[in-house]
Symmetry: D2
Subunit: 83 residues, 4 copies
């Protein structure tokens, strides 16, 4: 998980960078390109956590014959995530 | 633009909050819900900046009969943004 | 699966409706609203099939201790889907 | 616009192809890959129509000093589109 924390620290820095760009009244398109870079990075973090979740919680629940609820919960988070 | 800077500060705090959740080994689904909240917030910031950009730079270029290049640039950033 | 086929038939009809709107030179914004309705409908179909896939193939593989490859494949399709 | 109609005809055919895949009970992941291909294609059509809209309606409104309402409408359709 340290890898994920490190990626989140980098994302935090990128968000701070955008604040500075906005305050310095930098060109809108350059700011938008940075925002879309953060969104890609966040999505990657989301996928890593989703994969981890499926490999652990979801897999364990399925092995114990209790997958249904966990899978429904997973689907609901995937739907929210893809909005 | 102060409103946008404030929103970015809130997003920065949310990213830090997720780092903590990951370090404390909180439930993956709760982390994913938080990440998708940040993505929505970032998207809103992106839209505000896009609207501002269209209202200023793009409109000015169009009025001066030089819209073509600016619109092409806008489309390219919208495409990247929607990935 | 009949429910999914029916939804796909409705989507097919919606796509045909958009062709007509384009040919009749209807207002762009109205066409875009229709396209985004189709995208929502397709996304719903995608989620239904994903859920079905997790409930069957992925669950079976996990129960047989062979989840790893199937989960990797699932993640890769989720990533492509969210682009 | 004929180019856009042709692309929509291809998309219509792809949707029909997915119906067949579902009826033949083809592998879920293969179906999902096809659905995500249609979504990409639809997105491209959406971008073409958006660009056309900005180059014509939005530009005309801006030139006549009446951009505000048209830009607000554009933003609202972009938001819906990115859901």
């Amino acid at each position: 998980m340290q890898k994920i924390v490190n990626r989140l620290k980098r994302i935090e820095g990128q968000v701070r960078g955008i604040q500075k760009m906005v305050e310095e009244d930098r060109y809108c398109v350059d700011i938008l390109v940075q925002i879309s870079a953060i969104q890609s990075a966040l999505k990657q973090v989301g996928f890593s956590i989703t994969e981890r979740h499926i490999n652990h919680c979801v897999s364990d629940a399925i092995k114990q014959g209790e997958g249904q609820e966990t899978i429904a919960e997973l689907m609901s988070v995937l739907k929210q995530f893809s909005k």
